[in-house]
């Protein structure tokens, strides 16, 4: 067992899903032609002034409340001063001494060991622009200001995490919460959910924090784990060899599988934070905070508990289906449809049926893009289809065909079943006719069955199903075959 334990804190930058930037009216849409979403304000032309976007403030407040943060009725935008070409004003408008919110928490559970991770603060700031090095094939660096001024929330955890697996779990839980409240689209690829990690080690049992390094460029859950694991091992090796850890920023190189030094503390800048005199304090009425709190949707962790309790879902099913708000909503509405339809299936059964069917037949057709999702089937149609299976009108096998048709054409299940003659055959005389024909045409297998090869029953069932184009009620087929095969013995 290692004599060291790791201490990990995470800083997440998540884009707030407002249509316009934090301090001007420019669009926040990703992927536009460079420098098409710009104006005097986000280009920092002389004389331009920032005006805060109330929608972004509200979204950040929702996220803060969902994370159990205390939201301050009055918070202050501050200037973080440094020179870089992606920062047109020469300062970033952020929050420093009086952030939007503080003192939150997030529950995580790794391998059945639940823990609470403290959230130090959640504040708002504007994103920098994007430097395009070697643009147009040359050695020049050009700047795309489309991203400059896009609203972000920075969510800083307490150094409560001890293992890379916990860090990953924290990020996943955090991501689903900010998505559930509609504050962020959770898109790691486009960089709208980004993470830096602070890592240090200390002897087990110590309560003193060791010298930390800050890890950057870890913008996937996999990289987070690999980079943290590498960094913990590196620090242990340094300390075990009698060395000391240097406070520095390191970047993860996926190619080399290592963290590499980026800049040391000696290069650390004095940001000269001070309250931005262009922006009065952000004031949020406590009544408004309460109203936002009351309007919060059910959060994923509560949803999963309820699904496991009321809808009979397994933990694994609940986890998969709650990962995206749109999928969770599909499940909920399908269950609602199913329990309301004739037959009034009880919720525990309806939940289980819907969860299985959605995972098996629907999820692979769902396209997720950020918070929006294209789900090519309606919950009402899905509920109806499941109730048809339940009532014995179609078999599960036929249902797969029907759902494929529904997804392809958008038609209603009854229409598809009627037109394509897919309704289940439960008429015993029709099934018997088909069964007798199969028995007549396969004397060899009949003999084998009768001489004890009972496993052949399945083969007979398959033949009858084939003969009825899969429409025969499988239960009836089973019963009849068993009877006919033993009768004539």
């Amino acid at each position: 067992m290692s004599a060291f334990e790791a201490v990990i804190g995470l800083e997440v930058h998540a884009q707030l899903l407002s249509a316009s930037k934090l301090f001007c009216g420019c669009s926040t849409r990703f992927g536009a032609e460079p420098n098409t979403h710009v104006c005097p304000v986000c280009l920092a032309l002389p004389g331009s002034l920032p005006v805060p976007n109330r929608v972004a403030v509200e979204l950040a407040t929702r996220a803060a409340l969902a994370l159990g943060c205390q939201v301050h009725a009055r918070s202050i935008f501050a200037r973080k001063n440094y020179f870089y070409p992606d920062l047109p004003k020469g300062y970033q408008i952020s929050q420093y001494e009086q952030p939007l919110s503080e003192h939150g928490r997030l529950e995580i559970d790794v391998d059945g060991a639940p823990r609470t991770v403290g959230i130090r603060r959640l504040h708002m700031e504007e994103d920098a622009a994007k430097n395009l090095h070697g643009a147009a094939g040359g050695t020049r660096t050009l700047v795309d200001f489309n991203r400059g001024g896009v609203p972000l929330m920075e969510i800083v955890s307490e150094p409560d995490l001890r293992r890379s697996a916990e860090a990953e779990e924290y990020l996943k839980r955090l991501r689903e919460i900010v998505m559930a409240v509609g504050a962020n689209d959770g898109n790691l690829e486009e960089g709208s959910f980004r993470c830096d990690a602070n890592v240090s080690i200390r002897p087990v049992g110590s309560s003193v924090l060791g010298t930390r390094t800050e890890l950057k460029n870890i913008n996937s859950f996999r990289f987070v784990r690999k980079a943290i694991d590498y960094e913990i091992a590196r620090q242990q090796a340094v300390v075990s060899a009698g060395g000391t850890i240097v406070q520095e920023t390191r970047t993860w190189s996926e190619v080399q599988g290592k963290t590499l030094p980026m800049r040391s503390k000696e290069d650390a800048m004095d940001y000269r934070y001070f309250p931005d005199p262009d922006l009065p304090p952000i004031e949020i009425d406590p009544a408004e905070i309460e109203a936002l709190r009351r309007a919060l949707p059910e959060l994923p962790v509560a949803k999963r508990a309820r699904w496991q309790g009321e809808l009979g879902l397994t933990a694994a099913d609940a986890s998969v289906l709650s990962a995206h708000p749109a999928v969770a909503e599909l499940l909920e509405r399908t269950v609602a449809a199913l329990t309301a339809l004739p037959g009034k299936l009880e919720p525990a059964k309806a939940g289980k049926r819907a969860a299985n069917f959605i995972q098996a037949e629907v999820l692979r057709h769902v396209r997720l893009e950020g918070l929006s999702a294209s789900i090519p089937i309606s919950a009402a149609g899905l509920g109806e289809l499941l109730s048809l299976i339940e009532n014995g009108e179609i078999s599960g096998k036929i249902a797969k065909e029907v759902v494929a048709d529904m997804i392809a054409t958008g038609r209603e299940p009854r229409e598809i079943i009627g037109q394509r003659g897919l309704s289940q055959v439960s008429d015993a005389s029709l099934i018997e006719q088909a069964a007798r024909a199969v028995i007549r045409d396969n004397p060899g297998n009949v003999t084998a069955y009768r001489s004890g090869k009972q496993a052949l029953l399945g083969w007979f069932v398959g033949q009858v199903m084939k003969a009825t184009s899969g429409r025969a009620n499988p239960q009836l087929v089973n019963e009849l075959l068993r009877k006919l095969l033993s009768e004539e013995a």
């Binding site: 032309l45 002389p46 004389g47």
Partner: protein, 492 residues
């Protein structure tokens, strides 16, 4: 026809003459362009004259009148703008080499409002670089000369705006005031200026010096003109988060109204410290106000003595950050260096003048880790005490009377030490720090025929009251506000 020379008419007279068809806007504009051509070389007040744009705007006013459109309050009135107010398609240099070739793509809020009111914009006016200075000697394009005595400073930083108004090279002008920059030059040039309540006028498109102090203000030949200009440029602007919502009053209606019963606060110590001519002029103005029914009250601003220290920390701190955007990357001067840092260093070293660099360094220092609490934070606390001083003083009086500056215009090159120059602002800084409105008007001439400025300061959003008192005092004093024309092609 108008029986006086066109350039003798003030804003309200010209607006009436144009509206009444007595004179065309184009004629008026031509008259001013001729005067500018003739006298500006001696003053160096205009950095850019937009003859074409001005004549086109004037022609548009004349066309609108011919069509019977109701004229705006400034229809056909030629005005000029301090060169830190953004004008679409016209250079806006802030008196700095770093913006020498910069042309904004948009108009400042006040510029939009002037255009909408029918004003004809003649051009852009010289100023201390980035509005940092009290003499106009900090302009990268040479100092402005005071039209009353070309060897003297016009004051600053809105020196060009005060000089063209006094010399009648514009009917009036807009300047900006951070620590006295419309009031002190108005005092030096014998014209009237209003520094509005912080938030009264939008800062959108005013190139920032110190954001918590900057206000755009009018400089005019008389109180009524200043009141009309203020009414046009004041009002809420959603593009400026510090812009006030409170309604704009009919300032001009305050002219020629009764004063009786108003309590005028006097700072005895302040007056005592002035040059004799200034002291006498202020005392005589106070007697006039008494004769008009005002009651003098002695008040004090105990923390005002710290105003210079507080101002030069707060303003420079904000400036050090506000001027970071001039980095040679997107616009303005770029001097290529060996790498990024070197390019920053070379561009900013070549682009900024001495005083601007001094203030950037002072402000950077005041915000630095380890010094922030001792300088910036402490300065903000003292600023709050100064605000309270004014609140207490205004419990006992309705407005304050004080000099605009300790003395009249000094000679160009006379004040060499930066600290002595900073002390020029001793009477204007407190109102800036408190965000309250202040009006400067001429109250007499020295024996050497130099204007003396007087300042009225009121509580927040009492511009109407200041206009009322200033207008009555103006009539009672009957001070000349027109500088003599410089000799043809005269040069100091």
């Amino acid at each position: 026809m108008v029986d006086r020379e066109l350039h003798a008419l003030c804003v309200t007279e010209l607006a009436s003459a144009v509206a009444g068809g007595e004179v065309s806007a184009v004629e008026v504009t031509r008259a001013y362009l001729e005067r500018i051509e003739r006298f500006n070389p001696a003053l160096n007040a205009y950095l850019h004259v937009d003859a074409q744009g001005a004549l086109a705007a004037a022609a548009a006013v004349d066309r609108a009148r011919a069509q019977g459109d109701a004229p705006g309050p400034l229809a056909g009135v030629p005005l000029a703008l301090k060169d830190n107010l953004c004008t679409r398609g016209l250079p806006t240099t802030c008196g700095s080499r770093i913006l020498q070739n910069y042309v904004p793509p948009y108009d400042a809020d006040v510029v939009e409002r002037l255009r909408a009111a029918g004003a004809v914009l003649l051009g852009k006016l010289n100023m201390d670089e980035f509005a940092m200075g009290s003499s106009n000697e900090n302009s990268a394009f040479g100092p402005v000369h005071n039209p009353w005595d070309l060897s003297r400073a016009p004051g600053g930083s809105s020196g060009g705006a005060a000089a063209v108004t006094a010399a009648r090279l514009s009917v009036a002008a807009l300047g900006s005031d951070t620590g006295g920059s419309v009031r002190q030059p108005a005092g030096f040039c014998g014209v009237t200026a209003i520094k509005p309540t912080y938030g009264r006028v939008s800062r959108y498109g005013l190139v920032a010096f110190a954001s918590s102090l900057d206000q755009v203000g009018p400089i005019a030949r008389n109180v009524r003109d200043a009141a009309r200009l203020l009414a046009v440029i004041a009002g809420h602007d959603p593009r400026d988060a510090t812009s006030a919502q409170s309604p704009v009053e009919a300032y001009e209606d305050e002219c020629s109204r009764e004063l009786s019963g108003l309590r005028v606060g006097v700072l005895v110590d302040a007056i005592a410290g002035c040059e004799p001519s200034t002291r006498q002029a202020i005392e005589s103005a106070l007697s006039r106000l008494q004769a008009l029914g005002c009651e003098p009250v002695t008040v004090s601003l105990p923390h005002a003595e710290h105003a210079i220290a507080v101002y030069y920390i707060v303003a420079t701190a904000e400036a050090s950050s506000n001027l970071a955007r001039f980095d040679g990357m997107r616009y303005g001067l770029r001097v290529r260096g060996e790498d990024l840092r070197d390019t920053y260093r070379k561009s900013r070293s070549a682009g900024f003048g001495r005083e601007v660099k001094r203030r950037i360094m002072l402000g950077t220092y005041a915000l630095s880790a380890g010094y922030y609490d001792a300088f910036y934070l402490k300065a903000q606390r003292v600023r709050t005490l100064i605000v309270r001083d004014f609140e207490r003083a205004f419990e006992r009086c309705d407005l304050l009377l004080m000099p605009t500056s300790p003395g009249p215009a000094f000679k160009l090159g006379e004040v060499k030490d930066p600290l002595s120059m900073y002390k020029q602002d001793i009477f204007t800084l407190p109102a800036s720090l408190a965000g309250v409105p202040a009006l400067s008007m001429p109250c007499g001439l020295t024996d050497g025929r130099l204007p003396i400025g007087l300042q009225l300061v009121g509580p927040h959003f009492t511009e109407a009251r200041l206009v009322r008192v200033a207008s009555a005092l103006e009539q009672a004093l009957g001070v000349a506000t027109s500088a003599p024309d410089p000799g043809p092609g005269a040069r100091a």
